[in-house]
Symmetry: C2
Subunit: 212 residues, 2 copies
């Protein structure tokens, strides 16, 4: 397996026509859906081809191989996961907003009948040890997520709602950790109580630090 | 896929001779090691056979199919994971003990070069949606783990170190959640800071509740 690289495997998007971009996007979203349902190992390029209604040569026009497609799926899922939490995720700058975000995340799991876990976390469980480039892409996805959480907590501290010795980076990491662990246990137990316990404990901790 | 059942798939152990038990155990620990390294999908019964130095008919003597072997692997990994945390895990009845346990878990990840994540959690990521019997076995594994954590926190409350309105069940769940999320992020980032941030936040929260 070669070094981590994101160049040369994917046809650069700017070269694509509007129709080309639409086809590429259909391939990626189809692959993302299948991999979320059946796992990466359980999804072949032939499955993607049949479900997306494209030819084998179309897939290979956009993606050198399954690994290149997997990396596009990781970016697509990161965009989808972060997008689904907007506008709340971009402004987690109060305990009230953190609690609303917690309710949103718990609600998503109920709607999904507790299935699937985190679309990013479950890719991580399957790919982290077998595909170093996928691992790097997943780390980037988690970093984007954590940065969005951190921005709100940083704003709380800047505004004086949290004491100056509060550590927004550490608290944001603890929230992302609670979310990932909570989603995994939700998936295994078919019940959101672990997700609730994990997020609530960190949010209560943040609330206990607030100056007012 | 049939309903959850643990009967009929595995030859009952009491019927085995000492040599038979040893062979069965070698098959299970070999499969557990391969699945931890390569994932479940990346481990065939032929791989297990070759690595364990047993014949195909020996594997089928003990396990009806790969799924039956997977369930035995889940139990084996649960025993191994819980065993590796002893004697601490059995007596997490003080903030000091919780911090020692946190250090032990962080140390394990360093020794392992941050690879592999949680042996139970990574099986969960791969199996929860595709194998309902495996999901049930994984839920049992997490329940055993959580009960061991809870016992210590319950003892703290019974002794009066935590107030009577403290919820040992919820706090134990929050610790297991932090551990699972922290191990997943450790694996993806090749760094234990998320595991530390997650566990420390919950332990600090417990410390802030202590009566003395």
């Amino acid at each position: 397996m070669g070094p981590v690289s994101t160049e040369g495997d994917i046809t650069p998007e700017p070269r694509l026509t509007r129709k080309g971009r639409a086809t590429r996007e259909r391939i990626v979203t189809t692959a993302a859906g299948l991999m979320f349902e059946r796992g990466v190992a359980g999804t072949s390029l032939e499955d993607v081809q049949a479900t997306a209604g494209v030819s084998s040569s179309q897939i290979y026009h956009y993606f050198r191989d399954k690994r290149a497609l997997i990396r596009a799926v990781i970016t697509c899922q990161t965009d989808a996961v972060l997008g689904a939490q907007q506008p709340l995720l971009g402004r987690l700058d109060s305990v009230t907003a953190l609690r609303q975000w917690r309710d949103l995340l718990v609600g998503f799991q109920r709607e999904r009948h507790y299935e699937g876990g985190c679309p990013i976390g479950s890719l991580a469980g399957e790919l982290a040890e077998v595909d170093p480039e996928a691992r790097a892409a997943l780390a980037t996805g988690f970093d984007r997520w954590e940065a969005a959480i951190r921005a709100g907590i940083q704003a709380m501290r800047d505004r004086g709602d949290l004491p100056s010795d509060a550590n927004p980076e550490r608290l944001a990491t603890a929230l992302l950790v609670a979310l990932q662990g909570g989603l995994l246990l939700t998936q295994v137990r078919r019940d959101t109580s672990a997700l609730e316990a994990g997020l609530d404990t960190v949010i209560e901790h943040i609330a206990s630090m607030t100056v007012r």
